[in-house]
Symmetry: C2
Subunit: 432 residues, 2 copies
């Protein structure tokens, strides 16, 4: 069930790139390779054809041979990893061997590194950082604004350029944005770009979506591709065009169609999150919100407060994990808990009303449920969650959810938070 942009590449591309990630930690499976995904996305956006990614461990001979091999089949090689100061960092040496070009110390880089680390003298003395200043003759240096290891741009043979980056994702990204991106755009792009616009949906499964838009999934320009995670499905519309304006024109009619088909499920686009959408809505209305959380244990609050500027609408909340706190902090009558249990429509409702009264806000959300792995019963199994939302009109909406009990604790918490925010979004929309 995959969709490809390959067809867009089929008119004799002038340039093709490869990505090479170097590091035994990748080969051993110790870390997930997020760099190759990030670079791939960047290359796609720049309209650079890219057919292969390779990962290899820290072995000088193997890296050297692989680089020679790659130089025979593409024009641009992007490497990550192996630029550090330890004996296992071998990328630059392997490249110099691959093209039989010796390394020389760039004195000014060594001065720069010493300056960067002037507050960490012992590092300069004890670690072989001079190694990071060794480069073949004639290479162009890629400045590393956040770390010590510079990268390089080098054309060792005709029609083949290498660009090296560290394996640390934040360093790679800042170097890419500051220096590499424009270089690649100017030097290698055929003038066309890829531009994507993503619709974000929740409350509908990827397979249901795919079935409804089979025809659109077979389009060639723009392409439409669905990607799902636990909480949401993204529909990514990608156009190949001369520029962003043209791309947007190509995307527009398809986007409009999708908006009609999935109007109830689309909550935003691109960088939007459910939290950011809800915050924006509340800001527009100049209203505030508070939370009373039980089974989500603070995840709803932290999801809202992970968005900058959330303090404009979010006053705060209570994590009432114990029944005692539900009574003392939220004014939930103790007999209500005794009769219905903490996980019940009645208690969720009392929690939402209690926190709204106490903290004097326009809106409140409460959640009470069983996130597991313990605490479930035949009557109230793991995955049972009650959400209550009280609004300025003091009307309380109750949402009952029974998540699949095979879901783990964290998944149930995440799904609960998602349903809180989406339910609030729908209520806010309905009173627009």
């Amino acid at each position: 069930m995959k969709l490809s942009l390959n067809h867009l590449f089929n008119n004799n591309p002038p340039i093709s790139a490869e990505i090479l990630c170097i590091g035994s930690e990748l080969i051993l499976g110790n870390i997930v390779n997020t760099n190759s995904q990030w670079i791939s996305e960047e290359l796609t956006t720049l309209g650079i054809n890219h057919f292969r990614q390779t990962t290899i461990g820290d072995n000088l001979n193997r890296i050297t041979k692989l680089i020679q091999e790659i130089s025979c089949r593409c024009n641009l090689l992007i490497t990550t990893g192996g630029l550090g100061p330890t004996p296992d960092d071998l990328t630059t040496e392997a490249i110099s061997r691959a093209f039989e070009s010796p390394l020389f110390l760039r004195e000014y880089l060594w001065n720069e590194i010493q300056e960067k680390l002037s507050h960490k003298k012992e590092l300069i003395e004890n670690v072989n950082l001079r190694k990071q200043c060794l480069f073949p003759k004639g290479v162009q240096i890629i400045n590393n604004p956040t770390g010590t290891a510079p990268g390089m741009i080098w054309q060792p043979i005709n029609n083949f350029t290498i660009m090296t980056f560290p394996g640390v994702p934040s360093e790679l990204k800042s170097m890419w944005k500051e220096s590499a991106k424009d270089y690649i755009k100017n030097k290698f792009s055929d003038g066309s770009i890829f531009y994507s616009n993503t619709l974000k949906l929740t409350g509908i499964s990827e397979s249901t979506i795919s079935k409804k838009i089979e025809e659109l999934l077979n389009l060639r320009n723009p392409t439409v591709a669905p990607y799902a995670n636990l909480e949401e499905v993204k529909l990514r519309i990608t156009a190949k065009a001369k520029n962003n304006t043209e791309a947007k024109l190509i995307i527009r009619p398809i986007k409009d169609k999708l908006k009609v088909i999935f109007s109830d499920y689309i909550f935003g686009e691109d960088d939007h999150t459910l939290a950011s959408i809800v915050i924006d809505e509340l800001k527009n209305k100049n209203q505030t919100i508070v939370f009373a959380e039980s089974c989500t244990g603070g995840l709803l609050s932290s999801t809202i407060t992970s968005v900058g500027g959330s303090s404009k609408v979010f006053k705060g909340g209570v994590v009432a994990y114990s029944n005692e706190l539900k009574e003392s902090l939220l004014n939930v009558p103790s007999n209500l808990i005794a009769i219905h249990g903490a996980v019940s429509e009645e208690v969720a409702s009392a929690m939402a009303i209690g926190i709204k009264d106490k903290l004097k806000s326009d809106w409140s959300i409460s959640i009470s449920g069983i996130a597991g792995p313990e605490g479930g019963s035949n009557n109230k199994p793991v995955g049972l969650v009650y959400i209550a939302i009280t609004g300025p009109d003091k009307k309380t909406t109750i949402i009952k959810k029974q998540y699949n009990s095979l879901r783990n604790r964290i998944e149930i918490q995440r799904l609960s938070v998602n349903d809180c925010l989406n339910s609030l979004r729908l209520i806010l929309l309905s009173i627009k």
Copy 2:
């Protein structure tokens, strides 16, 4: 800063494997390749040498050529992706072309698939699922317990075996565990296994650690390798041995040495988290804890409550995002905020004492700081955080942190939570 197990592979290994991930969504950067990490880890555990991973898009010629290329340099190829029913799923066809061996329909598989989808008749009619039953002659089928696409085990030429898996991680994993793992173990393992034990450290940087144990990082069996993320550094000790018991004996003395060198920084091993360690400590003492959070907005609570069984020690807390709530819910005197500001030693301290009194617990933690991106000043820049911890003896410890102001909001929140939990851990240790 990478360390390798490659040296363990240097005594003429009998078998070497490669991983090939097929899918344009990987090449386009739409999804992160978690499969190659997962398989790498499995191969490492099985003691199978593995030197290279490749990713390629859905293009028949390119996949065919690449498989021929790989068959010349290793003995075992694991592929993922491209087993679905759509025209873009090309793996089996490419393999059959690579070795000029035609595909035949396995009638019994077709019956199985129809049975699996008997409740989804329209899928059977509309999608070319028969494609998933085509295989070269003589291959062994890998049953897919959770999906429709079977995999295969095939030795098309001497000393070269291919095993194919779908790209869906859950299907790959269940097929691997049910069928592939034992096959590989019996057929390809030299009888030795890799076993790892990981020490987890916080409050110390990867470079400081590496400098202190340079000699240990050069060991060959066991190997010691550091991996860092935002909050912690892991020291992974890996032994190659006949079995787990022998491996543990090899690991033991090195682990003991590391424990002496880094005693203050090691908080746990393997699956431990700071939250789980703190919860265990409080359970042992039969004590409870509550939180008053400002700048972390609920992240401390949700970190604790992401651990199953946390309700035994965590009663709840307050997210007092606004000053109003700091006063009304935590009894922070309003003049204290007026004089010192919400982000101050005095207010953090009052918050910790206020919540502890109000919720009647043994311990309390409060956090007040500036997570950014807005709200910073010359006097109190973004990244300034005060943590207060009050204990059963009513003594309050204040921790002042100034995180790098280049850190983003979420990083500052995560670092703050980490410092809360680690400070509490150290206090709990000191009164043991």
